[in-house]
Each structure stands twice: as C-alpha cells, then as structure tokens.
Amino acid sequence: MAETGFWSGYALPFLLILGYILAIVVPLLISVAFVTYFERKIFGLMQIRKGPNVVGPFGLLQPFADGLKMLMKETIVPAGANRNLFLLAPIITFTLGMIGWAVIPFDEHLVLADINVGILYLFAISSLGVYGIIIAGWASNSKYAFLGALRSAAQMVSYEVSIGFVLVTVLLCAGSLNLSEIVLAQTELWYFIPLAPMFIIFFISALAETNRTPFDLPEAEGELVAGYQVEYSSLAFTLFMLGEYANILLMSGLCVILFLGGWLAPFDIEPFTWLPGIVWFFLKTAVVMFLFTWTRATFPRYRYDQLMRLGWKVFLPISLAWVVITAGALHVFGWMP
C-alpha cells in the first residue's frame, strides 16, 4: 500500500463523509418539520377545518414556531427518575431515526453506505427502536410511562416477526440484501403487484413498528396520558418527536425501496424519465407518508388483545405462508435470481 499523507489519507475522507452525513441529516430534519405541518393540514382538510394557518404564509412557519416553543421550555427531570437513562432514551430514539438513512439509496449510486447487508441493517435499526421507548418508560419512574413502554416492547417485538418474513420474501425475489440491487431488480415490475399481500402486511406492520394509529397504544392519550412520553418536556420531548417522525419517514422510504421501485420511474418512457430518480423517490415516499397520515386520521385505536391477535394469529401465518409460496413459485418456475 502506498504511503498516504494525513491530509489526503484520513482528514479529507473524514470531512467528506461528514459532509455527506450533513447533506442527508439537515434536509431530513427540515422535512420532518414540514411533515408535521402537512400532517396537521391533512387532518384539517379531512375534518373540514383549516389546520395551521396563522404563522407565516399558509401557516408554513408553524413547525418552526412549535420547535422554538419546545426549546424555550425547561427540561424537567422527575425526582424519582433515573437521570442518565432518562436523558439517554430520547437520544437513542433520535439517533436511530437518523442512522437508518445511511443505507437508503436515493438514486442509483446516490447512497452514503452501499453495504451488502443493507436490508438487514435497516431491520436491525428498526428493531432497536424499542429501546428508546422502553428505557424512557422505565427511567421515568411513572406507572403510565412504564405501561406504555411495556406495551410498546411487546408490540414491536411481535410485529417485527412479520416484517422479518416480508423482508425474506422480498429478498428471495431480488436475490440480494443490498438495497440498490433490490431496487434494480424491480426494473421490470414493482414488487407491490406480485407481492400485494406482503405489501399490505408490511405497511400495517410498519404502522405498528412506529407506534402510529391505529397501533399507538404505547402513547394512548386517553388511558396512558401519552404513555412513555408523559414525563418528558422541552428538548428531550423534541428529540422524541423528531426521532419518531424520522423513523416514520424511514419506514416510508423502506416501503418505497422494497415494493414501489425506489428511484425508478413508473414507466421507462419519455415524460416520466424527465424527472431525476431522486425526485421520484421523494414523491413516492410522500405518497406512502400520506397513507400513514390518512390512516391516522381515519381509524380508531386497536384494543391491546386485538393488536396481539392481529400480529401473531393473522400476520405471522400469512407472511410465513407467503414466504413458502414465493420460494416454491420461484423454484418451480425457475425465476430464482
């Protein structure tokens, strides 16, 4: 190996990587802010009211006003709380919401880390999400928070199982664990058509994994007064919010990559290919994100036993059967990649 200087060998790559990371994280945080805005706007429209419209033109500055308000408040750590863990929990949630994006391909070759096991990496990250919540619930030293945390742990572990099987099906079809290759394998046909049931299961499980309605039992405001977040305020609470929404965006992105052809244009012909891949990716993510919001505005909350029943008795058998069917079909028809 040739001698490399400190600057060209270490410092420059380091700065470059740092630049890439910022180029992902900063737009991500801004889009998280606007996602909350759009969510409220959509709720407003669906409930025949206006939604935020006071701060800035069309209320566009509302998220920033909210953020500022949060930051100005006092960080309260309850007296009986385990201080270190209490403050660690939101950091974990926030960090996990960010680091998943490292492997997301926004366009062909436009990915920070094009690793071999990208899909497993994302699965690992999403399965870690439970820690922020469970630690928050325990460290708060509050009954409501703890109940929320327990619910969330059980729920996320349960739905991870079916997500795992969905991932297995997709990677059976794609023949790779690399996210870019999974997208490229969909050039002919997006997977949401042949794997329609898995797409639905994945979407619903993603709702459960991110604790969104109708699976938002961990924070059920009616019974648990916001569950694991009940003792949080100010910056810590903001971190939770940001992490949660970043996670939702990540799940939407994953959904797009696995089933909706990632950055690929819907048809490989003139008017569609004018738009660059990254725009298609964002458009599709926005559509899935809208589905998340739509669900939230429409459905009431599940009861806990119903939630468990759905996860273990409906999704698990169906997804398991589909893994077998898909593998069998691939083998019999010789479609194995």
């Binding site: 270490y10 385990n82 863990l85 690793i115 071999n116 096991v117 497993l120 990496y121 699965f123 690992a124 399965s127 870690l128 439970v130 820690y131 469970i134 630690i135 325990w138 703890f146 327990l150 742990a153 059980a154 996320m156 572990v157 991870e160 795992g164 664990l177 036993d305 119903q306 029943r309």
Partner: protein
C-alpha cells in the same frame, strides 16, 4: 491500516469494559443495558472481521429480541440486591483463593511454553478470497448443503423449546372472556333482536315475553 486498528481497539475496549460492568453494576437494568452495549460492540468487531452478516444477525436477534425480553423481565422483577449481596463477603475469600490459584496455573502454563499456540498446519490451507463471494451467500451455501442436517436438528431443538414453554406455563383460563370474531360475525340480528310495538302510555306496564 491505522483506522482499522483504532476502531478495533475502541470496540474491543468498550466490549470488555461493558462486559465487566454487566456483572459489576448495582442495578440489574443497567446490567442488561451494558450487556446490550457489549453485543453492539461485538457486532462492530464482527464487521471489522468482514463478517457483516453475523454482525447484523447478532444485533437483530440478540439486541432486537432477546435482550428486549431480558430487559422486560428485569424491569418487572423486583430484585432485592442487599439479599443477593449478603453472601458476597462470606464467599469473597474462597473466590479470591480460587482466582489466585487459577491465575498462578495460567501463568505457569503460559510461561513454561507447554502449550503450542500455533494453529496446526492442517487448519489453514487456503487463502481466502472475500471478494469472490459475499458473506451471506457463503454462509447460506454451507448451511443448506453441508450442514443441512445440523440445521434441521437445530430447528427441532427450537420447536422443543417452544413446546416446553407452552407446556410449562400456558394455563387455560376460563374466567377470562375472549373475543371470538367468528361468533360476532355469525350473530344473526333476527334472533338477537326483537321488535315490539308499544302503545302510547303502555310502556310502564309492558313486559317482555
């Protein structure tokens, strides 16, 4: 590769320290959290070794599922630590003696050169080519051909564990009401509801038949 070495030492040191803290910390929840940290850093070490598949599986299975349940149980249990520690001082001398004897033996074995730490020649015979085949593929090729037999038995072992958990803990509770969706769907409004025409001012005297 100095970066690789630095990373290795960071991961290794954190793994060892968190391993010590798993048994050292006073609070069992902290112990579990340090265990998770240790898993994480071992996963990092696996990545450094080029075994990214195992690293990810380690995180998904151990950190994502097993340790969550650990944490779950530990948080739910109220462990009285003063009680657990009661025997500590009593057994400390014996523990120390055993530890010192083992240490002396280890030193004796290692310094006298009776153990040959060179790996026998028949072990390393070929130079690997990690570029040719990805980690996951390689493991799959082995697991489903050469070791399919063991893979199947491992499946049986897991099945037995599952059967065991159900046999030993599952209780059929009859006093708990359960939702039966089929019953709900099959309920016929004609048999469940009857309509009655009640005359005005007759409501107080009307009785169901």
């Amino acid at each position: 590769m100095i970066v690789e070495q630095i990373t290795f030492y960071i991961f290794a040191v954190i793994t060892v320290i968190s391993g010590v803290l798993v048994i050292g910390s006073r609070n069992p929840v902290h112990s579990v959290l340090f265990l998770i940290l240790a898993f994480f850093n071992s996963a990092g070490l696996f990545v450094l070794m080029g075994a990214e598949f195992i690293a990810m599986i380690l995180i998904i299975v151990y950190v994502g599922a097993v340790a969550v349940l650990f944490l779950f149980v530990v948080m739910m249990l109220h462990i009285d630590f003063s009680k657990l520690r009661a025997g500590f001082t009593r057994y400390l001398p014996i523990g120390c003696v055993v530890g010192i004897i083992l240490l002396v033996e280890l030193i004796l074995v290692l310094t006298t050169g009776t153990v040959d730490f060179n790996i026998p020649k028949n072990v390393i015979s070929q130079i690997p080519n990690p570029e040719a085949i990805s980690n996951t593929e390689a493991l799959g090729n082995l697991l489903y051909t050469q070791y399919a037999y063991l893979f199947q038995i491992a499946g049986f072992i897991l099945l037995i564990a599952m059967v065991g958990a159900i046999v030993l803990t599952h209780k059929k509770r009859n006093e708990v009401k359960k939702q039966k969706i089929s019953d709900q769907v099959n309920r016929d409004p004609n048999t469940a509801v009857t309509l009655h025409k009640i005359e005005t001012k007759e409501g107080g005297t009307w009785k169901s038949d």
